[in-house]
Symmetry: C2
Subunit: 161 residues, 2 copies
C-alpha cells in the first residue's frame, strides 16, 4: 500500500487544482460604514452549461489513516465546499493522466478555509476529519450527467502530517 | 423611535425575500457510499448580467438594541451569506414600497443557517450579533453598478425576541 502524507492547505499549493477561499491579508474593500471588510472574488465559479446552485452536504467523520480508493471529477462545473462547523477536510486532488487521476496530492484544510475545485479536476469525496461536518456547496445544477468516477487500482493510505 | 422585535429565522417566514439554506428534514440524496447526505439546490442564485463569484466578508460585532437606519438592494443579483463562525446574523428585510423599503421584518439566524437574499430585495447590511463573524458571500460580480442605498427617514431600533 502506497502512502501519502497530508500537507497544510495553502492557496499556492492548491492553485493547480482550484481556489482556497480565506481571509488572507488586508480586505479589498471596506464596506458598511467601516464595519465590514470584503475579500473580493476569491474563486472561479464555472457552471458550464448549467446554472449555479447552493446545496448543503452533511457528511460523516473520517479518520486517519484514510483510504483513498475513489476519485471523481465533474466535467460540467466547479464545486466549492464551505465548512459550517469548522471541521477540517482531507482534500485529495490529482492531475489528469490520460483520462485517469495521476499521483494525488493531499491537503488538510484549516478552520476558516473553504475550497473551490475547478471544473474537471480529479478529487476525492468530501472527507471531514475527526468529526461530522456540514458544508455549503456551490456547484453546477442541471439534469446533465456531471459525475465521472475512477476507482484506483492501487489505493493510497493517507497519513498524518 | 419605532421598534422592531427579532423573530427566529425560518424558511417559511423568509420566503418572500429569499432562501434559508439549512439541513431540514431528510437529505434529497445519499452520496459517497452512504457517508454524505446532499440537501439539493436550496437557493435561487441569480447573477443577472454578471457572473457568480465567491467572496468573504469579515464583519464587526453588533449589539442590541440595533439601529436600522440604512437599507440597500442589488438590482443585478442575489446575495448569499454563509456563516463560517456560527455567529447569528440580524437579518433585516423589507418589501418594496414605490421604490423605497416598506415596513421591515427582522429575523435572527441560528447557527447552521445561511441565507440567500433574492435579487433586488431591500435588506440591511451584514450584522453579526454579539461577536465578529466571517461569512462566505455568493453574489453577482461585474463592473456594473449594483448597489442602491436608502437611508430611512425614521430609523428603527431592533430589540431582542
Amino acid at each position: 500500500m502506497t502512502t501519502l502524507t497530508l500537507r497544510p492547505l495553502t492557496a499556492e499549493a492548491f492553485a493547480p487544482y482550484g481556489d482556497v477561499i480565506e481571509c488572507s491579508g488586508a480586505p479589498d474593500k471596506i464596506i458598511n460604514q467601516g464595519m465590514c471588510g470584503r475579500h473580493h472574488d476569491l474563486a472561479l465559479v464555472d457552471s458550464g452549461p448549467g446554472r449555479t446552485g447552493i446545496s448543503l452536504f452533511d457528511a460523516k467523520a473520517r479518520a486517519l489513516p484514510y483510504r483513498l480508493d475513489l476519485m471523481e471529477r465533474h466535467p460540467l462545473g466547479s464545486q466549492a465546499f464551505i465548512p459550517l462547523d469548522n471541521v477540517p477536510m482531507i482534500v485529495s486532488v490529482a492531475p489528469d493522466a490520460d483520462g485517469k487521476p495521476g499521483t494525488p496530492e493531499v491537503f488538510l484544510s484549516q478552520p476558516g478555509q473553504s475550497i473551490n475545485i475547478h471544473r474537471n479536476v480529479w478529487h476525492g469525496v468530501l472527507a471531514p476529519l475527526g468529526a461530522p461536518g456540514r458544508y455549503v456547496v456551490v456547484d453546477h445544477i442541471s439534469d446533465l450527467p456531471n459525475l465521472e468516477e475512477h476507482w484506483l487500482e492501487d489505493p493510497y493510505d493517507i497519513l498524518d502530517q
